[in-house]
Symmetry: C2
Subunit: 431 residues, 2 copies
């Protein structure tokens, strides 16, 4: 297995790296962001003494120019002065150091500092937070994942291969009884993990209490027969009080996982859930496209996942290779590696959840590019719409991962494995 390592260990500063674009000069913009996000305002005012600036002002630690463009990436950038000639939009990476004493070990204020007003500055025409390194005080204050990879493996009963899972589909509309029927089918097929869709929380047509009751009865019956207890991530996303109550409902019913939509609940609510939770927290990243789809706006996954791990997420969605969404494979690979890179302790990694358009065909490339089986590998339609039925869909996934880890060509493996053959025939794009 590959081991990933962090890039820097700051002590009394918060290090933030950005990609920016500007027609004004990268140094000037780096200083503007450093000022705006620490001691500055738009004019120099009486209280901003040199002593205070020395102590409180963020420092530009590094500037690395990249390419330049003819058109601005985002609207609203201030044009250059009367320099003559058409403007060029220079890109670059800048590294800023914020005094830890400005913020303290406080995730919400950290967010306001490294991810706040700076997107609105007219000095630039593009700004994206790429990475963060935090002082040890953050690791001391925030406990990080409670279960992480080993705890999840123990509860799911899967030691040394990806945890294979699926999503209850259709996303919405099934009754609790229909959901439990589907769980029975999938559980009988030998699935490790099932999750609610992020659209399915506690709606009138499938109240969470009833769904948990029906699903957990099915899971307990399956466990009584086979000895294997399926891990079901119940989507407890809700207002905080309800979310904590849902957690207790899942726990009391014998459940082994809860899921939240991270952007819907926010960091402080996740911290509260982490305090209360006796179960692994499955972090869904829906809404993430807004943060990441534009190359010069928002936040890179590498920075983002650190915040949610600190707050307590045990599992984090990373999309998947050759996914149904827009994201290129190299970005997915970086996300998987990020989740597996320790922050403050060897065990504060999160389990990457690979999903979106997965059917097993992506297993060899996923393994080749990340070198790990510390994954949840989640297929929705890839299992449920398998031509030979869900049980065959799951077997095809298992076969694909066997081939991936053993270095066997997928098509060769398919010759002796009919479920894999059928899944390739159904889902592979023509070569």
């Amino acid at each position: 297995m590959i081991r990933y390592e962090r890039w820097i260990m700051p002590d009394d500063v918060i290090v933030a790296k950005y990609r920016i674009e500007t027609c004004l000069g990268i140094e000037q913009v780096a200083e503007a962001i450093a000022g705006e996000q620490s001691s500055g305002t738009f004019v120099r005012i009486p209280g901003e003494t040199d002593e205070l600036k020395r102590r409180a002002r963020a420092r530009v630690a590094k500037i690395e120019p990249l390419d330049a463009a003819d058109c601005p990436a985002l609207p609203g950038g201030r044009p250059p002065g009367k320099s003559g000639g058409p403007a060029r939009f220079q890109r670059g990476e800048i590294t800023l150091e914020f005094p830890f004493d400005n913020v303290g070990a406080n995730l919400p204020t950290l967010l306001a500092t490294v991810c706040g007003n700076l997107y609105e500055l007219s000095d630039h025409s593009g700004c994206k937070l790429l990475d963060l390194e935090l002082p040890a005080a953050f690791g001391e204050k925030y406990p990080g994942p409670q279960f992480g990879i080993p705890g999840t493996r123990r509860l799911a009963g899967v030691a040394d291969r990806p945890i294979l899972g699926t999503i209850v589909k259709p996303s919405v509309g099934l009754s609790p009884a229909q959901t439990a029927d589907l769980v029975r089918t999938l559980g009988a097929a030998g699935i490790d993990f099932i999750k609610d869709d992020e659209l399915m929380a506690n709606p009138p047509h499938s109240p969470l209490d009833q769904r948990v009751g029906a699903v957990m009865r099915a899971i307990q019956e399956l466990a009584d027969q086979s000895g294997k207890k399926v891990m079901y991530a119940v989507n407890i996303t809700d207002d905080l009080e309800a979310m904590l109550r849902h957690h207790d409902t899942v726990l009391a019913a014998g459940g082994t996982c809860v899921m939240v939509s991270l952007h819907s609940v926010g960091l402080p609510a996740l911290v509260e859930l982490r305090k209360r939770s006796a179960l692994p927290i499955h972090g869904h990243r829906n809404g993430w496209g807004m943060y990441t789809r534009h190359p010069l706006l928002g936040v890179e996954y590498t920075a983002w996942q650190k915040l949610w791990r600190l707050a307590g997420a045990d599992h984090l969605h990373v999309n998947g290779l050759q996914n149904k969404f827009w994201e290129p494979d190299d970005s997915v690979v970086r996300s998987i590696r990020a989740c597996l890179t320790p922050m403050f302790r060897p065990d504060d990694t999160a389990m990457p959840v690979v999903s979106s358009g997965q059917w097993g065909g992506q297993a060899p490339e996923t393994y080749r590019l990340t070198g790990t089986t510390d994954l949840m590998y989640v297929a929705g339609g890839g299992i449920l719409a398998h031509p030979m039925g869900p049980a065959a869909g799951l077997r095809a996934l298992q076969q694909a991962w066997e081939a991936a880890v053993q270095g066997i060509d997928l098509h060769a493996h398919a010759q002796t494995h009919p479920e894999l053959r059928a899944t390739i025939a159904r889902f592979a794009k023509p070569r």
Copy 2:
């Protein structure tokens, strides 16, 4: 005063309007989003019956084509099939109706539904949520602003003009005693409102308890002398437990306002604070640039502010005209109007907080374009860096608003008002 009205009153559906861009056909993309965010998955699966689709699937209610472009706004859009000729990227507005029964009156799951995976679809090369209309059940479950405009006016003692305020600057670095000194100066000048910077919460160099103590002693002394109690918005942004404790600290010290960075705390934590709070909640929008700066990604303010008002924000930042940031004036005007448009009750509006590079010169245009004085008008450097001192800076602001409301030309007014004259000389851009 102008009264603003809402555009539609849905009953059993959640209405969401988007601006999208695609080279595939707007109808097709509208259906893809409607499917992905309700009953669909990437292949048709056994449980997705016609009956379930009829009941649970989102409906495309309206399509309005806009212009087309030669280049995609965002990367990752799927190219069209073999149509021949170069692709054109058609923009349009689409209106979707999500069955209320899919979601229930649940703000976090609403967010996952209207603001979730849809940004990642490769069917489009741009998607922005423009507006939302919600069934009455949301207004019944979520109480909305507790103080709103009338409650804030009562506590600030300002009846019929904008509440004039400032921000403690430098943003970070001042000690509690230095902050209190500044409050004394500003309070003596007659200021209505002072706020912490969003970067200043509970850091080691200015612990919130000590800052609140020092500041509230200064405010009480001022009140004893003048009878006027300055409203001070203490930035209580923190993990939830600490945030609620900070609220209690402010309340016990006689404070009249708390501030939170909305994106840092999230909707559920704001709902919790609203339940506990005996004070108006000042909602800071830092991080907002990520949601809005790109015309085809993220969320428009009109939609965004509805969520935070429902969750309980009494004041909402809207930027300001001719601001120091990138945002054009028409967008700021739309935001002010949005905050002042009732959702479910006449009094569930939020007080718009106009700030960023304000110095009074923008008052006439702000009043002309919005027709309201139901504003907090917040100037940082515009007051503190006034050449005749902060008291003169505040008087200049008062004079600018007098001129604005009475329809007097600002420069004419300045001839008999030296503070206004000095502020124009200091801050106005050469005409």
